[in-house]
Amino acid sequence: MGIAVLLKQVPDTTAKISVSGGRVDESAVSKWSMSPYDEYALESALQLKESGGGDLVAITCGPARAVKMLTDAAAVGADSLIHILVEDLSALDSTQVQAILAAAVAHSGSDIVFCGKQAADTNAGSTGPGVAHLMDASCVTMVSEVTPDGGSLMAMRASPNGNERVSVSAPCVFAFDKGIIELRRPNVRGIMMAKKKVAETLGPADLGVDISTSSVSIVGHTPPPQKPPGQKFEGADSVAAVVSKLRDEANVI
């Protein structure tokens, strides 16, 4: 069996996002990082690999800068790296992204796929289920841990009442939530080894995916609406009004 982990490079969650000319200005992003949920997917994939699960390939689709993230994955133990070079990911629709990633997984010969439940840029969450369908694989999302279970795999996932352990067989896709597992830190030895692991760079066409026409086109980006100035209320009687504002205006509860 082969294990693949799908990674996405996103603006660090603490980075400022600025909009210029109706688009998010990517050149103004101070730091690009591996999407946080993907970090848990990678860690769990590494643990499965170390428990006797074969080679781990790290796959990403994105512009040239994304290679750095693959090297980071190599530094903690990914065996091989595949980079599908797409300069502007946001120009693709979900069917195209999924087709590219599913083809890359097939290209790598993997049948167990780890990914984040959603990427920290669009926070969509379409990739895991979509790739699973294209691979004809089963899909488990909101996963916090995966362990070998005889010939199949046991995943811990969130359920309405807490958590549950579910068993699935390959081919399968695990979409990770923040895990209960501890992320490993790289070390100098791993960083030196990562230098030797060169990513295989492919274009969508090399995988037989046509990206010429997208069903989704971005009209524009805008900064979030300015929050109204702070409002002050007198007395505990105002709690009801504040709670309804939190629900309807702020949309946070």
Binding site: N123, S167, S217, V239, S244
Partner: protein, 306 residues
């Protein structure tokens, strides 16, 4: 335009967001058919105004959550130009799988729709808003409370279809929700107490509220330094954790600059303090001038109504 709405359920019944999905479908000129997975909520869905048809899809596969199987079963009973679901974890997953089965695009987490179809959604955790157009057929998931609910008073026909699919996921063990508290660094909602809480025992009120809304409980440095019952791990601020939740509720915290440094980038800040001149009100979106003794019971009551 035929719109398929995937009913959102909770606790064996229909989730109120379903009426918002129907309302949104109508707003783009759609005629909504509601699909009820496993038949849950079908009768309630039929009474939503504007619904033309409810299909109750029943089958063995709905015993266990397996998005692949559910999507296959639901997908085979309806066509339609647009699939609309809630942007909940299960809604996103089922809609994404149905979109993949149909080979159509999906746009998740919309906060506004316009005919066309124009979709607005927050990206980068709300640090920017994206507007895009998507061609039909397509799937769209909608964020809760962002759309007007359709009214009641509908009387759509309910048909039941027996349709199952192979389930590939076997549940081996259910584990009840751990009572362990969320860490402030991880939580999307935080309720913090300061020295104004008077006594560490009074943090129990914050704990109760946090349980109701899935929040973490934090504290100011003054509280942590004063009471050894309040551990340093709860401290928000310069030498504690720096947090950016969607909602930060500060109770009995005056708002020293060191505390503000750790929480001022929270998306929304509610301050409860009896001193109307407390600096915390300077950063609060909603300030309530009241004692915690008066405000917290009211807060509990109001949150309980949600």
């Amino acid at each position: 335009m035929d719109v398929t709405v995937i009913a959102e359920t909770s606790g064996g019944g229909l989730h109120p967001v379903t009426a918002q999905l129907v309302g949104a479908a109508a707003s783009i000129g759609g005629t909504p058919t509601v699909l009820c997975a496993g038949g849950t909520g079908a009768t309630e869905a039929a009474s939503i105004s504007g619904v033309v048809k409810v299909i109750s899809v029943v089958g063995d596969c709905f015993e266990t959550f397996d998005s692949g199987a559910w999507a296959k079963a639901l997908n085979s009973v309806t066509g339609g130009d647009v699939i609309i679901a809630a942007a909940s974890p299960s809604g996103r997953e089922i809609a994404a799988t149905m979109a993949a089965i149909r080979g159509i695009p999906i746009v998740q987490d919309a906060t506004d729709l316009a005919p066309g179809i124009s979709v607005t959604r927050p990206i980068y955790s709300g640090k920017a808003i994206e507007t895009s157009t998507v061609t039909t057929p397509c799937a769209i998931t909608l964020r809760a409370n962002a759309f007007e609910s359709a009214g009641e008073g509908g009387s759509a026909e309910v048909s039941t279809v027996n349709q199952s699919a192979d389930v590939a996921v076997a549940v081996r063990e259910a584990i009840a929700k751990a009572s362990e508290r969320l860490d402030v660094a991880e939580a999307d909602i935080i309720i913090s107490g300061g020295r104004g809480m008077g006594d560490p025992a009074n943090f129990s009120h914050l704990n109760e509220i946090s349980d109701m809304i899935g929040a973490a409980v934090g504290a100011s440095r003054a509280a942590v330094d004063t009471w050894e019952e309040i551990p340093h791990g709860m401290q928000v601020g310069q030498t504690g954790k720096t947090v950016t939740p969607s909602l930060y509720i500060a109770v009995g915290i005056s708002g020293a600059i060191q505390h503000l440094a750790g929480m001022r980038t929270s998306k929304y800040i509610v301050a409860i303090n009896k001193d109307p001149d407390a600096p915390i009100f300077g950063v609060a979106d909603y300030g309530i001038v009241a004692t915690w003794e008066a405000a917290l019971p009211a807060l509990k009551e109001e949150l309980g109504k949600l």
